[in-house]
């Protein structure tokens, strides 16, 4: 049974971890969540990305959602912004490939070339 008392415990655990590290400005991951994205399954992609970021304990990574960016045929679309502010847009992302983007690009700075939007557009 989930109770608010459990949340207090989590709060205290996270507080301890926060004191141990400096939070640097890390990668940003933006998942398109316009009507077209939602219809293409973007919410599941977002959940998979959040799960992976949590699993790999990437505390300096920000995950967020945005509206439609006008690439509806290539939804779900995921934008990765690296620490230098450079943007990479991935298309037709799935839960599985979303995890790959976290593991390869966000964690190891290796762009997943064949999933970039520009590759789909040819």
């Amino acid at each position: 049974m989930k109770s608010l008392a459990e949340l207090e415990k989590i709060r205290n655990e996270e507080k301890k971890k926060m004191n141990l590290r400096d939070i640097k400005h890390g990668y940003q991951i933006v998942v398109g969540m316009g009507t077209c994205g939602i219809n293409a399954g973007a919410r599941d992609v977002l959940m998979a990305i959040v799960d992976e970021v949590d699993k790999k304990d990437l505390r300096d990574v920000t995950v967020t959602i945005s509206g439609c960016i006008g690439e509806c045929e290539y939804e779900p679309v995921v934008k990765v912004i690296d620490t230098k502010g450079k943007e990479f847009i991935y298309g037709k992302v799935t839960a599985e490939t979303g995890k790959k983007i976290v593991d390869e690009h966000v964690m190891n700075n290796k762009v997943v070339q064949d999933m970039l939007l520009e590759k789909y557009k040819g």
Partner: protein, 201 residues
């Protein structure tokens, strides 16, 4: 869209984009009247009287694009479920007077009614859109009382689940609500809470 949680995800984003600081999603399932009411209420910039006429048109949007499907699709769903959608919007100058409410009425017996789907995933997604916004989710079921000849009670049982992000933030204090461990906990808390409510607990 396949389920109600996805419509909510779509519609609530309008509230965020209208600069709301508080968004309430209020759901009431009345099994006696066979009515489902879904309300999305926010204190954002609102919709002008002029735009109110146009917002359910799929080829109208105030967001610098040519297509705005969210309200159009929700309105269609309500009508398919023998109901309707209503919109009211007050665009005051102070935060206390600003209120926009999208209300969807549906018949619980309609064969076109969709499942609710993963409400927890929708709420987590919305928190991630802007963690500074206070989201409030309330879901109530008014159940039909199973008549017992020996009892004279005419009370219909009412079961609710409420998630108030303001309350969550008070407990978290300086830990952000978008902390990933907090979000994982919230997902299970919401899923569990809604299941218990549906079981009548």
């Amino acid at each position: 869209m396949n389920d109600i949680s996805l419509y909510l995800l779509d519609l609530a984003q309008n509230s965020y984009e209208a600069h709301a600081s508080e968004i309430k999603i209020i759901i009431e399932e009345n099994e006696i009247k066979k009515k489902l009411i879904i309300k999305i209420e926010d204190n954002g910039d609102g919709i002008s009287k002029q735009d109110l006429k146009n917002v359910i048109n799929p080829f109208f949007s105030t967001k610098h694009k040519e297509i705005g499907l969210g309200l159009s699709l929700f309105s269609d769903l309500c009508q398919l479920c023998d109901g309707k959608m209503e919109i009211t919007s007050t665009r005051g100058t102070s935060i206390e007077t600003k209120k926009t409410i999208i209300t969807g009425y549906m018949n619980l017996d309609s064969i076109n009614l969709l499942d609710f789907g993963k409400i927890e995933d929708t709420i987590i997604s919305l928190i991630l859109m802007n963690p500074n916004v206070d989201l409030y989710y309330s879901h109530t079921i008014i159940k039909r009382l199973i008549k017992d000849d020996n009892k004279s009670s005419n009370m219909n049982p009412k079961y609710s689940f409420v998630l108030d992000c303001k309350q969550i933030k008070r407990i978290l204090k300086d830990i952000p609500i978008q902390d990933y461990k907090v979000l994982q906990w919230l997902k299970k808390y919401i899923k569990n809470g809604i299941e218990k409510m549906k079981e009548g607990l």
